[in-house]
Amino acid sequence: MSPTPSSALHLAVALDGTGWHPASWREPVARPRDLFTAAYWADLVTEAERGLLDFVTIEDGLGLQSSHFLDPDERTDQVRGRLDAVLVASRVAPLTRHIGLVPTVVSTHTEPFHISKAIATLDHVSTGRAGLRVQLTARPNEAAHFGRRTIARIEAYDSPATQDVVTDLFDETADHVEAVRRLWDSWEDDAEIRDTTTGRFIDRDKLHYIDFEGRHFSVKGPSITPRPPQGQPIVSALAHDTVPYRLVARAADIGYVTPYDADEARAIVAQIRAEQNAAGRAAEPLHVFGDLLVLLDDDPGAATARRERLDELAGQPYTSDALTFAGTPAQLADLLQELQGAGLSGFRLRPAVAGHDLPAITRGLVPELQRRGAFRRAYEADTLRGLLGLARPANRYTAA
């Protein structure tokens, strides 16, 4: 088994319902009636593991999906409804052995204490393969599902008021991640001593109050769940602009970004590195992954035709925040390597049709990258950190 070459890129896949194209559920392979079963998710994640991917992310939300950014759309022609992503990840964890599991967690209405122990437990359950993809929500309807705060409505995207709302939500998310991370460290690794001579189960000097005080919440700690196997599971976030880049730079291990070409990728990476310097984290490893929506077929014409067919079924062309790629696995491999040259260390691919494009990634793209010496031929580590080349972090509370 040859070790992964240093030029290797990292590959993740973003799972969302039947796929990212709104008409994906109408494809014969889509299985839309199985969406709310464990078997459906087990099949997708085991397929991703078959392709030796680094990890899967699982989308989530605290309201029904919508084609509008801020409001429900009352559409009945697209997939609506989803299961809790952390529970989906946990349900598939015992069925897989190597692949990382990164559910989406909405920071805006959840408790850092609950999230911290849930992801720590996902890490225990998967023996070191957990992460989280943190996301905030500015949707008024989702705030109304909780009823304990109102979030000022975004009327104009470029107004100063909007900037304030958005910056505040991102600052709160950074606080959320900080509290979660402190809770992961609130138990030292060797806190459980089982000292039968003194009758002490733990050394309580190795448990720590985190005393987090933020503007929106405070958390005392320590966690009720011991430090997870990875010490710190992976934290990731999607980012499109300066304020979110700042969150990635301050709080994340992986940032997902959406460049349309190599020049844009280079500019985004530079901006994130600058924010990382400003945050005093310049020395810490931070992956920047490119997000791409993909339609893959062996014949480039078939991929384009499929895209057109899906757009026609949807009633309009699907536009994404990310670059949409329609072509062959070899063409995609070319593009990924070009973007990698611009400073991206990995990619999170969004299959347009999960039942079609996920196997095309694992059985088409992955072998193509392997032929080029650009992707692993076997899992080389047991933990997600290990796959990503990230060391297990020291505990911030351990006395030097």
Binding site: R82, L83, T121
Partner: protein
């Protein structure tokens, strides 16, 4: 004509953060690693148990201002571990204790509905409340609720979650690939709830789950708790160890149900029970004594006395006589984060009684705690345990038991191998699962078959 034999319900409580657990035993394994949970769950399923039960605690216990370090400390997240257990079992019900004080209905309802989907209809919710600001320090809510608002929030929380579960009827998802209709109704999941504790509206985003709603458990023995259970719960997790106390509780709670329009068989009474099992009754008695000594070290005995005295007693010798000073009856309590502090309602009288008892028996502090504290509910050979458990249930002292072994994770193995077959021979316990959902195992109707809006009323 003789009365038909009642069928016994059995469940397994994962041994964790409590002084039942004997962590010092060489056989004691991890209480965190998934392999422990998987072993325990597979044993329970092999024995055809109804469900596995997880307790909860949202802040580490403290005594005298320090984290309590003499029992097992630490536990995984309930929902996450139950979802993973759904992958390694096929029939076993998955019961999680989830607090209604430090959660929000939308989030908890979607977690239970998700767990029910991901387990094929095996989820159950033990609804508990918190009273202490101590736990609140870990949450956005902070603070706490006055005693009289705890149940009102819990009731409204459960009612609101019920409205969310019922906001999907089960026929909305058409997913017709030909016509392009995914949802029958754009308003699927619509809800509005306006009340004292929750004022929320919108659309729930998890379709109706296999059981419609999780099975609802209630724990707690207060007057309010009994009424709450009689009105709302599918099962009660109680702690009445003797036949007499069990019968009195059983009769009391079931008699309260009629005024809520419910039949006695719509609520199962399942006390927690510990056991000491060995080949012979004499060996089991010896084992029970030994386990008790392992559970109550000198240090543990002193800490137990501190619950009553509400003072630092660390200067006392656990092998010596009881303190002759009286308990501190101030408002602040030396122990935080555990329910037991409320057990002794009159600490001065308890202290006097204990001193007299110790003097009369020449007991040390440790002897006293060993002899007055919790004991194994069932002690004996497999035949003795099977008979005793069956007698309890046939006498209507309970509908079954939630067993709490003292060893993690193998503490259930011997019971599964030796006692369960005897219960099966008696014809009082299933030899195969007859259904797939937890409601099937418990003999509870599917919510769609009962008058609508029971929880939501």
């Amino acid at each position: 004509m003789t009365k038909p034999l009642k069928q016994i319900h059995l469940a397994a409580h994962f041994p964790g953060v409590n002084n039942t657990t004997v962590w010092s035993d060489p056989r004691a394994g991890s209480h965190i690693e998934f392999s422990s949970f998987a072993h325990f769950a597979r044993t329970a399923e092999r024995a055809k148990f109804d469900f596995l039960f997880l307790a909860e605690g949202l802040r580490l216990r403290e005594q005298g201002g320090h984290i309590y370090d003499l029992d097992v400390v630490g536990r995984p997240d309930t929902f996450t571990v139950l979802a993973a257990l759904a992958a390694v079992t096929e029939h076993l019900g998955l019961t999680g204790t989830i607090n209604s004080t430090f959660n929000e209905p939308y989030e908890v309802a979607r977690q239970f509905a998700s767990l029910d989907h991901l387990s094929g209809g095996r989820s159950a919710w033990n609804v508990v409340t918190s009273w202490d600001a101590f736990t609140g320090e870990n949450f956005r809510r902070g603070g706490f609720l006055p005693q009289d608002e705890r149940y009102s929030r819990a009731k409204e929380f459960l009612a609101t979650a019920g409205e969310l579960f019922d906001s999907w009827h089960g026929d909305e998802i058409i997913a017709d690939q030909e016509t392009g209709t995914f949802l029958r109704d754009a308003k699927a999941g619509a809800f509005v709830h306006t009340g004292q504790h929750f004022d929320i509206h919108g659309q729930f985003n998890v379709p109706r789950s296999p059981q419609g709603r999780p099975v609802v458990f209630q724990a707690g023995d207060s007057e309010e708790g009994r009424e709450f259970a009689a009105a709302e719960a599918d099962a009660i997790f109680s702690r009445h160890g003797t036949l007499e106390a069990g019968r009195a509780f059983y009769t009391d709670v079931k008699s309260r149900m009629a005024k809520y329009g419910r039949r006695p068989d719509q609520l199962l009474i399942l006390p927690a029970a510990t056991f000491a099992l060995a080949d012979t009754d004499a060996e089991a008695e010896e084992l029970a004594r030994e386990v008790r000594r392992q559970q109550v070290s000198g240090a543990t005995a002193l800490k137990h006395l501190e619950f009553v005295w509400n003072r630092d007693l660390s200067a006392y010798d656990p092998e010596g006589p009881l303190p002759d000073i009286d308990p501190d009856v101030g408002d602040d309590h030396i122990s935080q984060g555990r329910a037991q502090v409320r057990m002794y309602r009159d600490p001065v009288a308890t202290a006097r009684e204990w001193r007299e008892l110790a003097a009369a028996n020449k007991w040390s502090i440790r002897d006293l705690v060993i002899n007055t504290g919790n004991r194994q509910n069932f002690v004996g050979s497999p035949a003795t345990l099977a008979t005793t458990i069956d007698d309890f249930v046939q006498a209507d002292a309970s509908d079954g038991f939630i067993l709490v072994p003292h060893i993690t994770p193998t503490g259930l193995d011997e019971f599964a191998d030796k006692v369960v077959p005897l219960l099966q021979e008696r014809g009082v316990f299933r030899t195969e699962y007859e259904g797939t959902t937890l409601r099937d195992h418990l003999g509870l109707a599917h919510p769609d078959e009962t008058p609508a809006g029971r929880i939501a009323s």
